[in-house]
Amino acid sequence: MATVTAPLPGSVTVHEENRLRISDYLKWSVDHKIIGVQYAVTALFFFIIGGTLAMMIRWELLTPALDVAVDGTQYNQFFTMHGTIMIFLWIIPMWAAFGNYLVPLMLGAKDMAFPWLNAFAFWLIPPAGILMIMGYFAGQAEAGWTSYPPLSTLFSPGDGQTMWAISIHLLGLSSILGALNFIVTIRNMRPEGMGYFQMPLFVWSILATSIIIVMATPFLAGGLTLLILDRVAGTGFFNPAEGGNVIMWQNIFWFYSHPAVYIMVLPGFGVLSEILSTHARKSIFGYRAIALSSLAIALLGFTVWAHHMFTSLTPDLRIPFMLTSMIIAVPTGIKIFSWLATVWGGKLRLTSANLFALGFLSMFVIGGISGVMLAAVPFDLHVHDTYFVVSHFHFVLYGGSVLAIYGGIYHWFPKVTGYMLNERLGKIHFWITYIAFFFTFFPQHLVGMLGMPRRVAVYAPEFQPINVIISFSAFVLGLSTFIILFNMVWSLVRKEKQIAGPNPWRALTMEWATSSPPPEHNFHGEPVPFKNPYGYGTEAAYHYLEEQEKELGPSYPQTMEPHKKPSLVQAHAASGD
């Protein structure tokens, strides 16, 4: 196997002049690429904190009795902070990282529409995260990430719960500002010749996500304002004893938080479309269907919120919400089948990125099917508030979002840093993650259906054997995270770095039509988009990539070309271009 450890001729000069120091990432910058990396590093930091809390939860659940937490309240604090951090400080900011870095590049733009606003949106996140964690010293939030009253009002005496609500307010503002920026950038800054239906599907997914954010997050802002007033100003909007209504919070919260599930997973769909097509060397199947189904999910996502409240909902309303919840599986199914048709018959490269994308496909389908099961009222009433629900949303958010994030990191790390990640480590990371993930979350379906409630530290002894399997799998899953962290650091600091070059995956989207990492204003001259960003296997694509290589220099050739390269033309033919 040919391994390039020396710098590739032609790519070095450009590469070195674009190199940034670590200090460049620690200060205010309006460059979307720096902001993208700032988002990513911040999100990874919080991922480790949230992951540590997950390990403490699983340690606690190794035995049916209290072990780690001193009491139930502390256990409540563990899962409250775990859920909140993973959602608001890991997955959502991580997608903002991908969006910030990639959207302007994919559109051939020099930056986002509003660079200053972009930086401001990012810099709201660290203080919000610190505020939330500092709640530990003021009586940590303990009402779950859903923060249902009266648990979050009358039964959460610590100021940490108020700090939690203010922190979510700040994070919501950050999300809205970021989403506004994406919408304006995508609407107005596409290059000539790139209509909406020539955009990469990742850009479509960010557009759909941004629409959800700007339409749903204001509702959470309104609800949080009232919740804070209940806590600090003596109102009782959510206190039935004073004429308030707890169900009102549930309606407001889920009107935001169900669409928020799509905020967390739609960008993953976009990542998947990019990776599967590129690494299968095949045009994406059903481009328009995938693009429009993102919008359909964004709109239908607003019609399903009350399925989270089937047990407290007026019976007359259960059937309509059951139907809408099932209908939303249709656009998701369109995507799944389109991806399967994309890889079907393709020249699949089982790179780390592609393995994670295929892993996403398999695990997300399980999460999707259990979602349809939960949409059915009779089944939902049976498993409500059990580990079945925990299993379902982890299959969606870990099996979906996190595996897509990993895939995205393996795919775009070479563009961001100029260096390849180690493929062998990547594959080890994938298989450990994939197997450990499955054994962590799949058995939770079983204990859930047997009746083990969620959010309890003390449980019936007959559930212990399965919980032991779950906990040890979770520990392995937690440790597997350090493989990718090590891989990233090692790829940057090792002596014999693997220089990526501009386009190591021989991809057709525009972020690859520049050096790695890209220069300050992204492109050397005016970039011209290839007419079909997924037109792999065509003569035109071959010539486009040929010209690109002449202009920008060669790229890391290990994965996209045969090991024994007989001639350049044959190599290109074999790689499907």
């Binding site: 529409a113 107005n188 009232l226 909007f237 004429g243 209504n245």
Partner: protein, 194 residues
């Protein structure tokens, strides 16, 4: 002076035109997004009201001032629009007059809102009185902040800023004031009419 006139007549460059288009899109999408916070408060209001048997009828002294304030803010929208048209036509004096009317009418509206906030007609009804006050206060904060921006625009214009070629500050302030008006109409219907 001649240089300034030439600058005013120069068409926008491609980059300037794009920046303006971006700003206009941003304000439009922001308005569509942020109005939903007001909608969420309306939903809470209606939810709380549905649990109350009989909401006491407002006395004339409680009903007429908000009605007049609504008329004032609607007229202020028209004068703000006239102001934007004037600056676009390079009629600075007309702009200053129209903008001054807008500020006075907006100030009158805000004064009534502060009075309603203090003399809350539903103070005896615990949660409805609270949501009524939250809605009035929340809207007033928006009126105050955007009104402050409009005062700054007025001062800038007095100092010679803005031209037919570059009047984004005026346009943005006017658009946000329209937002305040639309949000108020939404609230007014819910709080005083239905």
């Amino acid at each position: 002076m001649a240089q300034q006139i030439r600058d005013n007549e120069r068409p926008l460059t491609r980059q300037e035109a794009l920046a303006l288009k971006n700003r206009r899109t941003l304000v439009t999408v922001f308005q569509m997004s942020w109005i939903l916070v007001f909608v969420s408060l309306v939903i809470v209001n209606l939810q709380i009201r549905s649990t109350i048997q009989d909401l006491p009828a407002l006395t004339p002294i409680q009903f007429i001032p908000p009605l007049l304030a609504t008329a004032a803010i609607l007229i202020s929208g028209w004068t703000a629009h006239q102001g934007v048209k004037a600056i676009r036509a390079n009629q600075r004096d007309t702009f200053l007059i129209q903008w001054r009317y807008t500020l006075v009418l907006g100030g009158a509206f805000l004064a009534v809102m502060i009075a309603i906030f203090i003399f809350n007609p539903y103070v005896g009804i615990p949660q409805y009185g609270a949501i009524f006050r939250v809605m009035i206060g929340y809207h007033a904060v928006h009126a105050l902040v955007i009104g402050g921006w409009m005062i700054q625009v007025f001062r800038n214009a007095q100092a010679g800023a803005y031209s037919p070629r570059d009047y984004w500050g005026v346009e943005a302030a006017a658009k946000l004031w329209y937002f305040v008006i639309i949000a108020w109409i939404l609230f007014y219907v819910v709080l005083f009419l239905i």
